[in-house]
């Protein structure tokens, strides 16, 4: 296992080389883990423990290891535990100090005074508070502290949740705020949204209102919890709806979270109309100890017989859960649902109406622009789209017309949107937060949308012009599967003479490529000649890609599995999103990587420094690596498996992957020569026993199935060079490819392979 971690690509531009987090709870521990995931050393301090001084901080690290906060266990080595009595001098090393202690105003301010005494001048200090205001926290503290102090509000769990709300003040120095912005994105991979200094910032201000309003409206209108949640799901929010969401969050937190937020809002704020914490419903739930999933019963529960029950809001008794079927628009089309009317349609309208009115009224108070509101709410609460985009989907004009017909006052922002023909034109807002129209080039993000010039296109994808000879080959099949049309495109691109560099890019955020199409593989397997031609085509295209006269960089976000991984193994460089899932699961289906994957991996294992060398060692290492059908759960893990090399780059924010890949491709093009033909010195039949020793022992001990041992035998045959292999006669790539093909043909003919593939297709 690796113990050193390469820092994430672009980390040197963030101004943060070392970080510190104070407070080792789930948030602080998770933030520290995310710094470590980016390869940045971080101190994690908590109060001293009674048994061990660093016990609480160490427990925080252990919790992250268990809950998956670390992308690979070796990242934990970058987190140095400590305590706030002995180790505050370490803060002098940190470029960014994140405070994530409990929400106690006086404790935080005491801590800030101590931080100020130890930190290095100009370092950024931030608080992960979710309820306190920056101006209150900083009032009366030295000016030197205030100028470096911002709010950095993360969501739980910090590794997975995309949103980071940042609040700077007028007294904040630009470089301190900029560092939090850059490092929040470049190191922690978050989409950073700048917020104004108001209670709940953006996401929780809108999100808490929405939950309270949707719950209390449902109760008021006499809907069942299942009906309300089915309607709410049509807003493109997580399938839990709102009642299910409260069960998940914990109903016991209502007084704390909703109570404190509403108390901090001015009397005229619309949120007071839906005081969830002060509601009879909440009081009854608290009194009954119905806290949601953590107590085993909330608005839903699992009955003793395992059946699912829901709470009847009128009788306050549980009854069998009722499925809500036949919602207009299939439960996914909000406009259709509202148009259909009836109790459910009316409820849908009331929720959209209240959300629209509230958001429109507070937007200017909490945010600097429209996208900030939509981005924060969508990422913070897992909505497909933020509130203004929801309104656009139904139609801003329609919403305003209906408000008028109900005799309601229409906020200026909604009025402006209706007049402008909606809030957005594509990604660009049409209006500012006062409702005034924006000139096209004033709009945030307006410039980014220029469509690229298409240089070549097939039904499998297209070649986009990245400028100055850079081609971007975008795979556009579903999940990037390698249909023949994708190979058509690769061949057309490789035949061009005008490229200086090439980036292989994903057509969707979900995958660069999930590999070969299994149903097609099964169909081809009926005719060995056709299957062999299919294998040979992939091998020859990927090999040509590797030997092309220009650098090839693979940009990986989402999945790169099977053939999708093999294409990256042939690239000069891979730029992978930290959360990409890269793997070679072929053996799980009874075959092996047959588009040059075994050959490329063998070449990597033969690189000095990558592990034990020698023909026997190589064969054994390759079988050991490939037999489990490895799929890495992060890019760091992929590096540990050898699926990414040291020179490959890991990018923390998914949207930064492709720009980084393009920049690297351009840089490589300046002085590029294609790799030389390689020869492979393999063990021959003498190596079979050693290559198989591990798998045979595992089989004897009952740890693997007989089918896995057969797969190991085929792998071993390829990586020892086959029956004619001999260490005195190195093999060419073409000979290696022939061995891969022969093995896949043999393996594909087995009934167990067919059965495994069919079972996967059914799933």
């Amino acid at each position: 296992m690796r113990t050193d971690m390469k820092a994430a690509f672009g980390s040197q531009d963030t101004g943060v080389r070392r970080a510190a987090v104070i407070g080792a709870g789930s948030m602080g521990g998770g933030i520290a883990a995310q710094f470590a995931n980016a390869g940045i050393p971080v101190d994690l301090l908590d109060i001293p423990g009674s048994d061990s001084r660093n016990g609480p901080a160490e427990a925080g690290i252990a919790r992250q290891l268990k809950s998956g906060g670390f992308m690979a266990p070796e990242a934990a080595a970058l987190v140095r535990p400590g305590n706030v009595e002995d180790d505050l001098p370490r803060l002098a090393e940190a470029d960014w100090i994140v405070e994530a202690i409990i929400e106690d105003f006086d404790l935080k301010r005491d801590l800030y005074r101590q931080i100020e005494a130890h930190r290095k001048p100009g370092s950024t200090v931030s608080s992960n508070t979710s309820t306190l205001l920056r101006r209150d926290l900083v009032a009366g503290l030295p000016e030197s502290f205030a100028r470096d102090y911002v709010i950095s509000h993360f969501f739980n769990p910090p590794r997975q949740m995309q949103l980071l709300e940042v609040v700077a003040g007028a007294d904040t120095a630009k470089e301190s705020a900029t560092r939090a912005w850059r490092a929040g994105r470049g190191l922690l991979g978050k989409t950073v949204v700048e917020c104004r200094d108001t209670p709940g910032f953006i996401a929780n201000r809108i999100g808490c209102y929405w939950i309270a309003m949707a719950v209390l409206e449902a109760a008021e209108q006499g809907l069942s919890v299942e009906e309300a949640d089915a309607v709410i799901a049509a807003f493109g929010v997580p399938r839990t709806g709102v009642f299910g969401l409260l069960d998940l969050i914990g109903i016991d937190l209502i007084p704390l979270v909703w109570g404190s937020l509403i108390r901090s809002l001015p009397a005229g704020d619309g949120a007071h109309a839906y005081d969830l914490a002060g509601s009879e419903l909440s009081a009854k739930m608290q009194a009954a100890g119905r806290f949601g999933r953590k107590s085993g019963a909330g608005f839903y529960r699992k009955a003793e017989d395992g059946s699912r029950e829901a709470l009847d809001l009128a009788s306050f008794e549980y009854r069998p859960r009722r499925e809500v079927a036949d919602l207009p628009g299939g439960g996914r089309d909000l406009a259709a649902l509202i148009a259909a009317g009836g109790p459910l349609g009316d409820y849908a309208w009331s929720v959209l109406r209240n959300l629209a009115l509230y958001t429109a009224l507070v937007a200017g108070e909490i945010a600097h622009d429209l996208p900030a509101v939509d981005t924060a709410v969508a990422l913070g609460y897992g909505w497909r789209e933020g509130p203004f985009r929801q309104i656009d989907r139904v139609g801003a004009g329609e919403v305003v017309a209906r408000l008028r017909s109900e005799g309601r006052e229409v906020p200026k922002l909604l009025e402006g949107a209706a007049q402008a023909g909606g809030f957005y034109d594509g990604t660009a807002p049409r209006i500012d937060l006062s409702g005034a129209p924006l000139a096209a080039d004033d709009a945030p993000g307006a410039a980014a949308e220029a469509a690229p010039r298409i240089l070549a296109e097939t039904p499998g994808g297209r070649l986009e012009d990245g400028g100055e000879g850079l081609g971007i080959l975008r795979i556009t099949t579903k999940m990037g599967t390698f249909a023949p049309e994708v190979f058509d495109l690769f061949e057309a691109v490789l035949a061009r003479g005008d490229l200086k560099a090439l980036v292989i890019a994903p057509g969707s955020p979900r995958a660069l490529s999930a590999g070969a199409d299994l149903s097609r593989f099964l169909e081809l397997a009926e005719t060995p000649e056709r299957l062999e031609a299919f294998l040979a085509r992939g091998q020859s295209v990927f090999s040509a890609l590797r030997r092309a006269p220009f650098p090839v960089v693979a940009a990986v976000r989402g999945l790169a599995l099977g053939g999708g991984c093999e294409v990256t193994l042939h690239a000069d460089r891979v730029v992978a999103h930290a959360e990409a899932r890269i793997g070679l699961p072929e053996t799980q289906l009874g075959i092996l990587p047959g588009w040059g994957g075994c050959t490329r991996l063998l070449a990597r294992l033969a690189t000095p420094g990558s592990g034990p060398q020698g023909p026997g060692a190589l064969a054994a290492r390759l079988v050991e690596t490939l037999l489990p059908g490895p799929v890495a759960r992060s890019a760091v893990e992929a590096r540990g498996l050898g699926l990414l090399r040291e020179a490959d780059e890991i990018v923390m924010h998914a949207d930064d992957v492709e720009p980084a890949a393009c920049a690297i491709a351009r840089a490589l093009a300046r002085d590029y020569s294609a790799p030389e033909e390689e020869l492979f010195t393999l063990a021959g039949p003498s190596g079979l026993a050693g290559a198989l020793a591990g798998a045979r022992a595992a089989r004897q001990a009952g740890r693997i199935e007989p089918a896995a041992l057969r797969v190991a035998e085929d792998l071993a045959e390829v990586v020892t060079g086959g029956p004619e292999g001999d260490p005195s006669r190195p093999l060419s790539e073409a000979e290696m490819h022939a061995l891969e093909r022969a093995a896949v043909l043999r393996m594909a003919a087995r009934p167990e392979t067919r059965a495994a593939m069919q079972a996967t297709l059914k799933r």
């Binding site: 034990p612 060398q613 020698g614 026997g616 054994a620 026993a689 050693g690 020793a693 022992a697 009952g702």
Partner: protein, 378 residues
């Protein structure tokens, strides 16, 4: 005149678990050098009195591959004029090293030797990095060599050592070792080693367990089998070093003899039951010493697996109270190339400590062999 070979000093490094133990980061040649330096410091033997370093290693590859006997001697600070050789008889390597030193001495090819051995199973895997047996061997023949756990299963089955007997044997080994460690009886043989985390002076392998915990373990090598991780010796890092010399060297350097070497034997058996190797080799060594098992007061027999050690104990009719009285390899660990030196050195030390007359050190060897050495109190 007949020359007599004496064991005039014995020490070893702590033994610790491979990969997770405190010595995992230490090269095997550095382990060995620490043991040799400790041996010289404890005995006061002048380095230039040494003829040769005869050094056992089971997988002389990688960091153990550059004639580790020679490399270790140089790292230990022995004069360049002292030679060094590597001896490979797999698990039997360092009993063999002691025998070779004694054999050279007895044919007047030197008066004073350092014998011993080292193995870092953290840094060079068991069977080495490149396992390349003759391709004409059937899978089972290869397995008999490389999957020794299965040979223990075969011995357990063929010689009737059931799961309960194996677990009881393993539990006893742990208890004996823990007691010896607690009483400071192991410290007499340990030379501390400097590690990145500071000096290490204690064995890392003995572990507090219970019969219930041992009974709960799943079979490690064979589905439905009886040999578990608890009744097997663990992968271990460590080194041992002994002085083998003539009477004249004892006197000249003021060394205190622990024992004299009285007999030796190696034997072969079917690779698939390699664990029974000690039976025939012990009989040979005893017979050459003119002794029977009843004459033996101390037995140090390697515990590669409880199954084979118990089967050999029964076959040789060794009383339990004479066997591995400070615990065996199940508890202490089994750094392959170093173990034989520990068995001989320990047996010699115990003769002195316990006041017996004769001792037997023996072990099984993968590939189907046994090795044994008989000692007499000096």
């Amino acid at each position: 005149m007949t020359r007599t070979a004496y064991i005039a000093g014995y020490t070893r490094t702590p033994f610790t678990f491979a990969r997770k133990g405190a010595l995992a980061g230490t090269r095997p040649d550095h382990l060995g050098a620490a043991a040799i330096r400790g041996l010289l410091a404890q005995t006061g033997l002048a380095p230039d009195a040494v003829e040769d370093v005869v050094w056992g290693c089971a997988f002389p590859e990688g960091e153990q591959g550059l004639n580790i006997g020679r490399v270790t001697g140089l790292l230990a600070g022995l004069p360049e004029t002292v030679a060094g050789a590597t001896v490979n008889r797999w698990c039997g390597s360092s009993i063999q090293a002691v025998q070779m030193a004694a054999g050279m001495l007895m044919m007047n090819a030197g008066d004073c030797f350092i014998a011993g051995g080292a193995e870092s199973m953290s840094r060079v895997p068991m069977m080495g990095f490149n396992v390349l047996p003759p391709p004409e061997w059937e899978a089972e023949a290869v397995s008999d060599f490389v999957n020794v756990g299965l040979t223990a299963e075969r011995v357990a089955r063929d010689y009737g050592v059931d799961r309960a007997a194996q677990d009881a044997f393993a539990y006893a080994s742990q208890q004996k070792a823990l007691a010896a460690q607690a009483d400071g009886r192991l410290a007499a043989e340990i030379t501390p080693v400097e590690t990145a985390a500071g000096p290490l002076d204690r064995d890392g392998c003995p572990r507090q367990t219970t019969p219930e915990k041992l009974a709960d373990l799943a079979p490690a090598f064979l589905e439905g089998g009886s040999v578990t991780a608890g009744s097997s010796s663990p992968m271990t890092d460590g080194a041992t070093a002994l002085i083998v010399c003539t009477e004249e060297v004892l006197e000249r350097h003021g060394l205190t003899p622990l024992a004299r070497i009285a007999g030796f034997g190696v034997s072969g058996c079917a690779p698939g039951i390699m664990g029974m190797g000690p039976v025939e080799s012990s009989k040979k060594a005893l017979s050459r010493a003119g002794l029977g098992i009843a004459d033996i007061d101390i037995v140090e027999m390697n515990e590669a697996f409880a199954a084979q050690a118990e089967a050999c104990r029964r076959a040789l009719e060794i009383p339990e109270e004479k066997l591995n009285i400070d615990g065996g390899a199940i508890a202490l660990g089994h750094p392959l190339g170093a173990t034989g030196g520990r068995l001989v050195g320990k047996a010699a030390q115990l003769l002195k400590r316990e006041g017996g007359r004769h001792a037997l050190a023996t072990q099984c060897i993968g590939g189907g062999m046994g090795i044994a050495m008989v000692l007499e109190a000096a």
